[in-house]
């Protein structure tokens, strides 16, 4: 078994999760507190990756990223970036694909905090920015953890989109899920099982550790 696809999966999932966290924080904040009328439309758009089959989403991303089309052409001419068949392309696609898995838990976490926490901070002279980072986020640890875990796990398990826009290049876009698929296609079930087992064990361990931490956090906040 070649360990490279597993490393690639790990890198992709980690990078996607980190970048998405930074992108999702302000969006979740806005969705949680804005009274803007078009909010539901934005929420629905963010949820679309939940509805679209991954291969369909992958197909549209393939078209969008293709250098023969407007967006892909623009990327290539201005940024020198070709997203199709590249690792950065996978990261961008994973970010789009996993968007709801990061934003929804963060938004729900913020909305579940009592409004008085935010208002208390305001009446104590603190800006919205300080309030967000010093009050709201530290009290949303559980939601943050859920968002990070869901995004990471969802990216690890991502297949349809990667297969569509990745091009299966070893060491670049051939992640573990695609490697498993290849082995199954080649009727090489032993190798497929090995990849799947490693993926299963690693993911299981990561999730167990994180949920143990989470339960400890909850106990601190609500002592018996």
């Amino acid at each position: 078994m070649d360990p490279e696809p597993l490393w690639l999966t790990l890198r992709l999932a980690t990078l996607t999760t980190l970048i998405l966290f930074v992108i999702a924080l302000p969006m979740a904040y806005w969705l949680a507190y804005s009274r803007f009328k078009g909010r539901s439309v934005v929420e629905a758009i963010i949820g679309m990756p939940l509805v679209l089959p991954p291969s369909v989403l992958g197909f549209y991303l393939l078209l969008a990223f293709s250098p023969s089309r407007a967006f892909g052409q623009w990327l290539e001419s201005t940024l020198g970036l070709r997203l199709v068949f590249s690792f950065p392309g996978l990261v961008v696609a994973s970010i789009i694909y996993s968007l709801p898995f990061m934003i929804y838990p963060l938004q729900a976490g913020l909305q579940s905090l009592p409004a008085s926490l935010r208002e208390a901070s305001y009446t104590l002279g603190k800006s919205a920015w300080t309030t967000f980072f010093k009050v709201l986020l530290p009290n949303s640890k559980s939601a943050i953890l859920t968002a990070l875990v869901l995004t990471f796990a969802h990216t690890v398990g991502e297949f349809g989109v990667v297969l569509m826009i990745g091009g299966n290049i070893p060491g670049v876009t051939k992640v573990a899920s695609v490697a498993i698929y290849n082995e199954v296609e080649a009727l090489n079930y032993d190798a497929a099982n090995q990849y799947a087992l490693v993926l299963f064990v690693v993911t299981f361990l990561i999730l167990s550790i994180i949920y143990t931490i989470n339960n400890r956090l909850l106990r601190v906040r609500h002592p018996a």
Binding site: S116, E119, Y122, T123, L124, G125, S127, V220, R221, P223
Partner: protein
């Protein structure tokens, strides 16, 4: 600054459990005054506090503190809550669960402000020893004191309290009221508190404003509002609460809490149906017969 009055004159529509009511409140709070806001739930008491704090923008109207305009809907002025010299004690205390008591207070410090105030206030509310605890480890009364101390860190000129003692037992409430009076005397802020508790109103408030359906139904001193006899007699009034009632020698022996002390009153037996434990009354001293007046 304790000579600055607060003028409120607003209209706002308020959705309550009973439907939408339109608030229309004009109120002038005197410098250094302690004003109690009371009335049935849904009357707009909390909303009024939040408008003063700048947490809500009224649909129209004006909030002015001395010459400073805080809210003016015609001039499109809405000074942010951060920039109003206001302290707010929330009904649920709104303590930051992830910070210790000391950190909760220190959080409120303005940039460059002397940190000595934190210790001073911790001492004032007798929480120095619990300064390292998290709010979840404290009792209701302790949390309440933290909330109060935290609201005072910035030395507000107006302190707003939303049913601050609703969750406390009687003895704790008395101690808190004492503490509030002490702090008020020491820092000389204007104070507006929402409360349903008559004992609290009588002990703390200079004036009480009764809100009903978004309008001020009555304003006046507690005595004026709660004694139906509105004459301006100079007889001293004592507020009391019935603790227990017994019949002995054709008389009612009533144990009552008056001025924080348990007193025994001997009263005519005819009062028996009304004087039940938990009721409040006013004791009016006069040179003639002392009079008992029951209040709702």
């Amino acid at each position: 600054m304790s000579d600055t009055p607060l003028d409120i004159s607003i209209r706002h529509s308020l959705s309550t459990a009973q439907g939408v009511i339109s608030m229309e409140v004009a109120l002038a709070v005197k410098p250094g005054e302690i004003l109690a806001l009371t009335g049935p739930s849904g009357a707009g008491k909390t909303t009024l506090l939040r408008i003063v704090a700048g947490l809500i923008q009224p649909q129209s109207g004006l909030v002015r503190y001395g010459s400073e305009v805080w809210t003016d809907t015609t001039g499109q002025v809405l000074r942010a809550p951060q920039r109003r010299p206001v302290g707010f004690v929330f009904q649920d205390y709104a303590l930051f669960p992830h910070l210790t008591v000391r950190q909760n207070l220190a959080f409120a410090l303005d940039r460059g402000q002397d940190e000595g105030i934190v210790d001073e206030l911790l001492r004032a509310v007798e929480l120095t020893e619990l300064a390292g605890q998290k709010p979840a480890q404290l009792s209701g009364g302790q949390q309440q004191r933290v909330a109060l101390a935290r609201a005072l860190v910035r030395k507000p000129q107006v302190l707003l309290l939303d049913e601050p003692m609703a969750a406390l037992d009687r003895s704790m409430r008395y101690r808190m009221q004492d503490l509030l009076l002490d702090l008020h005397w020491q820092y000389r802020f204007m104070m507006i508190l929402v409360t349903h508790d008559l004992a609290e109103i009588f002990r703390l408030a200079d004036r009480v404003a009764r809100l009903e359906d978004g309008r001020i139904a009555q304003v006046g001193s507690p005595g004026e509002i709660y004694t139906h006899n509105q004459d301006l007699s100079e007889e001293p009034l004592l507020y009391g609460e019935v603790l227990s009632v017994e019949v002995a020698d054709d008389q009612l022996v009533v144990l009552a809490l008056i001025q924080q002390q348990v007193r025994r009153l001997r009263l005519p037996q005819a009062l028996a149906p009304q004087l039940t434990p938990g009721r409040s009354f006013l004791l009016r001293y006069s040179l003639e017969t002392p009079m008992i007046e029951l209040i709702d």
